[in-house]
C-alpha cells in the first residue's frame, strides 16, 4: 500500500471495518452500507473535488452468505491510486443510500446496478426497471445478475 493510500485509510479510520488490497494494487476498504454517504462527504473533504472520480459501481450476489456486495471503485488519479469502498447488504432487503447528489457520476452505475441486481439506492428518483434489462425479463421482477434468477 502506498503512503497516500495509507494516509487515506487512516483518515477514514472511523468508518473502516477492514482494509486489504485487491490485485493488482487496489486498496479495498470495507465499510457499513448505511455510512456510505458520510464516507463520500469525508473523501471530498480530505481529497478535494478535483482529484478523484467515481469510476465504477459493481454489485455481486452472494447467495451462500445471503448477502449482496457492492463495490465503489474510485480513481484517485492525482495520486495514481485506486480506492475500493466495499459494503454488504442483506439479500432480502438490499438498500443503500444513494450518492448521486454528492457524486452525480454515480447515476449510470446506480441505474445499472439496480436494474441488473436489484440493489435499491435510497434517494435516487431516477431508478427504473428496463434501463438495460429487456421488458419481458424485468416485467417478471427478475434481476438477471442474481445467481438464482434462472436467466
Amino acid at each position: 500500500m502506498t503512503a497516500t493510500a495509507q494516509s487515506l485509510v487512516d483518515s477514514l479510520k472511523e468508518y473502516v471495518i477492514k482494509s486489504y488490497t485487491m490485485k493488482p494494487n487496489r486498496v479495498v476498504v470495507e465499510v457499513e452500507a448505511s455510512k456510505i454517504r458520510d464516507i463520500f462527504v469525508k473523501l471530498v473533504e480530505v481529497l478535494g473535488k478535483g482529484s478523484f472520480y467515481l469510476a465504477t459501481i459493481e454489485g455481486t450476489d452472494l447467495p451462500e452468505k445471503n448477502l449482496i456486495r457492492i463495490d465503489y471503485f474510485i480513481n484517485l488519479f492525482k495520486h495514481d491510486t485506486y480506492l475500493v469502498l466495499r459494503a454488504y447488504m442483506p439479500r432480502e432487503n438490499p438498500v443503500i443510500p444513494s450518492v448521486i447528489d454528492l457524486i452525480p457520476g454515480a447515476l449510470a452505475g446506480e441505474l445499472e446496478t439496480y436494474d441488473l441486481l436489484g440493489i435499491i439506492f435510497e434517494g435516487n428518483t431516477h431508478l427504473r426497471r428496463s434501463f438495460f434489462v429487456p421488458e419481458d425479463v424485468s416485467s417478471k421482477g427478475i434481476y438477471p445478475l442474481r445467481k438464482d434468477s434462472g436467466v
Binding site: K23, G50, Y53, G105, L107
Partner: protein, 399 residues
C-alpha cells in the same frame, strides 16, 4: 353578473419533446435521446437505453475463463483489442502471470493501432455531422490503411483476438515490421493534413467551437472519462496511472485541452493520434527479443480463488474489468464498465441550453420526429375526456 361557463381546458406544452433514435441512419448507437426543447434551445435530455443489452456479464459467468476472452473481444468491434487486453490482464493478476517483454510491446502496438483508427473514425464522423462529407470520405479512406496495419500484425482487420493469457497470439517478423512502419509513415502525413483542415476550415470551426462545453469540475463530478475529460483540462489517463503492459517503458505524453468544447475534444484526439503514431514507431524500432506466444497447453485450466480489477485506456476512455474467481474454471463475476456508459448516460447536462442544431455535433447524431411536435392537449371538462390536436389547428377549434 353572468359567469362564463368553462367547458374546455387547453394545455399548451412549454417544451416540445424530440426523440432522437434508437434507429437512425447517422446514429452510431441504438440509443434514444429524448430532447425537451423550448424553441431552439434544449432544456432537458433523457437517455433511454437498453436497446442493445446482450447480457455479456451473465454470459461470461456461464463460460470458462478462456472462452470469455473471445466473448469480451466482441463487446465492441472498434476497440476489441483493449477489451480483450483488460480482461486478460485481470486473469493474469489472479494467476500471477507476467507476460514476456516482447508480448507486452506487441500488445501496446495492437492497442495503439486501434486507437489511431478509432480516433480517425470519430473525427471523420465529427466532420460528417458538421456537414463536411468529403472530409469524412478522405479520413475513412486513410483509416483503412491503419486497419491494414492491424491486419498485418494480428491477422484480422477488425476482430483481432490477439490477446492470450501470458502473451499474444502471434509474432511479427522483419517484413511485417517494415510494412507497418511504412503504413504509419504515410498515415502520419495525412493526419497532419487533416489536423490543418480541422484548424483552418471555417465550417468545422463554426460548428464545433463552443458546442457542448463541459467545465472541468462538471466533467470530474460526472465521472466522464477519456478524451472528453482531457478536453476539459483534466490530466487523467489510465496508461499513465497504471502503467500496465509496456507503458512504463514507452515514452508518451498525456494530451489535454482546456476549453472543453467539441473542438477541444477533437484537438485532444489529434494530439493523441501523433502520440500513438510515435509510440508505434518506437515499439517497432525497440522491440525486445524473445518469444511472445505462450504455449496454450501449459496454461492452468482451473483458477485459484481471488479477484482483480484491471483498467485500460480505451480510445473512448478508461475501461474497467472486475473479475472474481471462486476457484474452478468459470469466473464467479465479471463486471465490465465501458467508457461510453459514463460518457453517454452522465453527460446529459452538456446539451442543456444548446441549440437543437448543435445536438448532433455533441451527441453524434439527431433526428427530429415531427409527429411528436406541435401538439396541444384538450380536456373536455363536461365529458371528462382528453384528446390531442396539432397546435396549428388550435386557432380554428370551437370545442
Amino acid at each position: 353578473m353572468k359567469l362564463v361557463e368553462v367547458t374546455h381546458l387547453i394545455e399548451i406544452p412549454l417544451t416540445v419533446e424530440i426523440p432522437v433514435g434508437p434507429q437512425h441512419p447517422a446514429l452510431h448507437e441504438p440509443l434514444l435521446l429524448k430532447l425537451h426543447a423550448d424553441g431552439e434551445r434544449v432544456v432537458k435530455v433523457d437517455v433511454i437505453t437498453g436497446y442493445n443489452h446482450r447480457g455479456i456479464e451473465k454470459l461470461a459467468e456461464k463460460n470458462s475463463f478462456y472462452r470469455d476472452i473471445f466473448i469480451v473481444g466482441r463487446v465492441c468491434g472498434i476497440c476489441n483489442a483493449v477489451h480483450a487486453n483488460c480482461y486478460v490482464r485481470a486473469l493474469e493478476y489472479i494467476l500471477d502471470v507476467d507476460p514476456p517483454p516482447r508480448a507486452k510491446y506487441l500488445r501496446v502496438l495492437a492497442m495503439e493501432l486501434e486507437r489511431i483508427h478509432s480516433h480517425m473514425l470519430i473525427l471523420a464522423v465529427n466532420a460528417e455531422l458538421a456537414g463536411y462529407e468529403t472530409l469524412f470520405m478522405y479520413l475513412m479512406k486513410d483509416r483503412e490503411y491503419v486497419m491494414k496495419a492491424k491486419e498485418i500484425l494480428t491477422g484480422q482487420r477488425v476482430l483481432a483476438d490477439y490477446m492470450m493469457v501470458g502473451g499474444v497470439r502471434r509474432d511479427v517478423d522483419e517484413v511485417k515490421k517494415s510494412r507497418i512502419l511504412d503504413i504509419v509513415r504515410r498515415v502520419e502525413e495525412r493526419v497532419r493534413y487533416y489536423h490543418n483542415v480541422f484548424r483552418e476550415d471555417a465550417t468545422i470551426n463554426k460548428r464545433l467551437r463552443d458546442a457542448g462545453r463541459i467545465k472541468q469540475v462538471d466533467a470530474l463530478a460526472n465521472s466522464l472519462v477519456g478524451p472528453v475529460v482531457r478536453g476539459s483540462g483534466v490530466k487523467t489517463d489510465a496508461r499513465a496511472h497504471d502503467k500496465y503492459d509496456a507503458y512504463n517503458e514507452i515514452p508518451f505524453n498525456v494530451i489535454t485541452e482546456d476549453y472543453g468544447d467539441s473542438y477541444a475534444r477533437a484537438m485532444v484526439r489529434f494530439g493523441e493520434l501523433y502520440e500513438s503514431i510515435n509510440m508505434v514507431n518506437y515499439i517497432l524500432t525497440h522491440l525486445p527479443q524473445g518469444n511472445p506466444v505462450p504455449d496454450e497447453r501449459r496454461l492452468p485450466r482451473r483458477f485459484p480463488e481471488g479477484e482483480s480489477y484491471a483498467i485500460v485506456e480505451a480510445p473512448r476512455g478508461e475501461l474497467t474489468y472486475y473479475v472474481s474467481s471462486s476457484g474452478g474454471d468459470k469466473p464467479y463475476r465479471v463486471k465490465i464498465r465501458t467508457p461510453s456508459l459514463n460518457n453517454i448516460v452522465n453527460s446529459t447536462f452538456a446539451y442543456i441550453d444548446q441549440m437543437i442544431a448543435d445536438v448532433p455535433i455533441i451527441l453524434g447524431s439527431f433526428d427530429p420526429c415531427i409527429s411528436c411536435m406541435e401538439r396541444a392537449v384538450i380536456t373536455d371538462l363536461r365529458r371528462g375526456v382528453k384528446y390531442q390536436i396539432p397546435l396549428k389547428v388550435l386557432g380554428g377549434v370551437k370545442k
